[in-house]
Subunit: 365 residues, 2 copies
Amino acid sequence: MGSQNLLLLPGDGIGPEIMVEVKKVIAWFNAKGGMAFETDEGLVGGSAYDAHGQSISEEDMAKAMAADAVIFGAVGGPKWDNVAYEVRPEAGLLRLRKDMELFANLRPAICYPALADASSLKKDIIEGLDILIVRELTGGVYFGEPKEITDLGNGQKRGVDTQVYDTYEIERISKVAFELARTRNNKVTSMEKRNVMKSGVLWNEVVTQTHKNGFEDVTLEHMLADAGGMQLVRWPKQFDVIVTDNLFGDMLSDVAAMLTGSLGMLPSASLGAPDAKTGKRKALYEPVHGSAPDIAGTGAANPIAMIASFGMALRYSFEEVAAADLLDKAIANALDKGLRTKDIAAEGEATVPTAEMGDAIVAEL
Amino acid sequence: MGSQNLLLLPGDGIGPEIMVEVKKVIAWFNAKGGMAFETDEGLVGGSAYDAHGQSISEEDMAKAMAADAVIFGAVGGPKWDNVAYEVRPEAGLLRLRKDMELFANLRPAICYPALADASSLKKDIIEGLDILIVRELTGGVYFGEPKEITDLGNGQKRGVDTQVYDTYEIERISKVAFELARTRNNKVTSMEKRNVMKSGVLWNEVVTQTHKNGFEDVTLEHMLADAGGMQLVRWPKQFDVIVTDNLFGDMLSDVAAMLTGSLGMLPSASLGAPDAKTGKRKALYEPVHGSAPDIAGTGAANPIAMIASFGMALRYSFEEVAAADLLDKAIANALDKGLRTKDIAAEGEATVPTAEMGDAIVAEL
Ligand SMILES: CC(C)[C@H](C(=O)O)[C@@H](O)C(=O)O
Ligand SMILES: CC(C)[C@H](C(=O)O)[C@@H](O)C(=O)O
C-alpha cells in the first residue's frame, strides 16, 4: 500500500479527546511499516463555527473530497443551540455526507462478550449479537425540498420537510445490503412504513425488484419500521443485515446500538459509489455515539468506537483486513483484561480514563 | 350516566376474537346497572374491503362520527398486501383518525408487576415502569401533501411524502401533554429531530412557548428523537410523559410498548378536541398491538390490551373513573392468579386461550 491521506475532523465535545487516541493507533501502524498514513486535520461543527462562522470551511471540504478517508469525531452541543439553522454544527456533517455522496452508512451493532452484562437487556437476548444496519445516508427527509418554516400570519407558522426517494437511490443501497449479507449470514430485512408512506411503497417495490435481479441467493424479508423497532428490542438476533432509509436508519441504529450496551464501542462507515476510474470509494468513518458535551474534558469518554472506526477504514478503504483484524483483537484483549471506561463499567467496577484505554489498546497491538 | 353509544370496529386478524371478550365486559357493566352502553358494530380494514371494496364504508364512518366512543380492534394482514394503496386496510384507520380529528394519541407503557419477567430487559430496568407517550395523530408525514409516486421515465420513479406541522397543531398536543403530566409526575419530554428537520425546529419552538404560557409548573425537557429511542432502552424510568410527532410517536411508542414485555397488554386512546357546545371529545380506543394475522383463530391472542382500551374509554370518554379502576384491578387480579396467554407466559408456564382470559377478567369484576 502506498501512502494514504487521512483527514481527521475531531469536531466538538469529546471528539478531540477521542481523536487523540486514534492518532496513537495511526502512529503505531506507521511505525510498524507496511502502511504509510499521512494525516491532516480540520475543523467541523461548532468548533468550525467558532473559528470562522461556518460548520465546515470550503478549504476543509476540499480536503475531505481529496482525502483517501475522512476520520470524523462528533459534532454538536448546547453551546450552539441558538446559532442559525444553516450553520448549526450538524450542517457540517450533513454537507460532508451529501457532497461526498456517502450514500451507504454501515452501522454494525455487536455485543462484545466482555460487555454482555453492561446492557439493559437480558444476557441471553444480546450475547453474541452481531447485526449490521445499512442506512441510506444522502436522501430522504434529511435533504428533500421544500424544507422550510413559513409564516402564515396570525401567529401561525408552518414547518415542512420532504421525504424523497428515487428508484436509483433505493437500488444502490439495497445492492450494498445484499452484497454485505453474502459475507455474513445471507439475510436482509428491509424496513419502511409502506402502510403510510408512498416512499415506503416505492422502497419496498425497488428492494424486491433488486433482489430478483441477481440476489435471490440472499434471504429477503420486509418489515414495517415500527414493528422492526419492536423486534429489535424483543429478539434482535433474528436479524443479520437491516436495510432502511435515512430517518428510520437514524432511529433504528441508535436503538440497536443501545441494545448491545456498547454504545461507546460502535463504529460506523459511510461509503460512496466506487469511482469509475480508480474503483475507490469516498469514505468517512465515525463513531455511532455523539459529542457527549456533558462529559467532555473529564476523561470519561470511551475512545473505542473512534478507534474501531479507524479499523473500519483499514477494512473498507485500504483493504488491510489483517491490520483491521489485529486492531479489533487488540480492543477485545484490552476489554478481556478488564479495562473499562465509565460507560461500560458494571456497578462497582474500576474504570480507566480515555488516554489509558487508548494506550492499552496500542500496547495490545 | 345516560345511555352511551359505542361503535365496535373489530377489524382484521385477531381483532374480532379480542372484541368478543370486550363485549363480555360491556355486558357485565350493563348488567350491573348505573351505566348503559348501546353497541353497534361495523367493518374496517381488510374485512371492510372484502365486503364492499372500501377500507371503511360511508355508513360506518357516519356511525363513528356520531358515536360516543369507537372501540377499535386492529387492521391489516398479508391477504391485502396487494390491494390499491387508497383502499388498503390501514386507510380505514387513518380516515377515522383524520375525519374524527383525533389529534391526541395517548399510549401508556406500563410494566405490570406480574409480568416484569416477560420483558427482554432486565427486571430492575423496567419494574414499576409507567410512562405515557402522547403522540400527535392527525398531522406530520402521515397526511402531508404531496404524497405520491411519480414516473420519471427511464425506469425511474420518485416517491414523495411531506411532513407538515402548523403552530396550532403543536400547541394543542403539547397542552394535552402538560395537562396529563400534572396528573402524573409533572414532567414532559418533547422529542423531535430539530438538528435535521425544520418541522422539528418549529416543534421545539412551539412546545417551549406553550410551556411558558401557563405550564411552567411542569418540568420540560427536550431530546432528539434518536437519542430518545436510545434512552428508552437504556433507562426508561427517566421519563414521565413523552410528547412527539406522528411518525416518531409511532416508532417510539412501539419500542416503549415492547420494553414492558407487555405488548399484548397495552391500550391506547385517541382523542379529539372538546366540542364547543357539549365539551365532549370524539374518541377512539384501540390496543397498541396489531392484527397479528399469524395467530388469528388459534386462541393465542391476548384480549387484555383490547379490554384495557375499553377501560380507557370508561376513564376518558365517560368519566367513570371508579369503573375504570375496577376493570384495571380485575385485569391485575387475573394476572396475579397466574393466568397467562401465550405472549406473556414465561418459559414452561401454563397458558390459557383468549376466551378463558376474558372470562377470568369478568369473573374478577
Ligand atoms: C448529528 C446528526 C445530524 C446525525 C443524524 O441525524 O444523521 C446523527 O444522529 C447520526 O446518526 O449520525
Ligand atoms: C396501522 C398503522 C397505520 C398505524 C400507524 O402507523 O399509525 C399503527 O402502526 C399504529 O401505531 O397505530
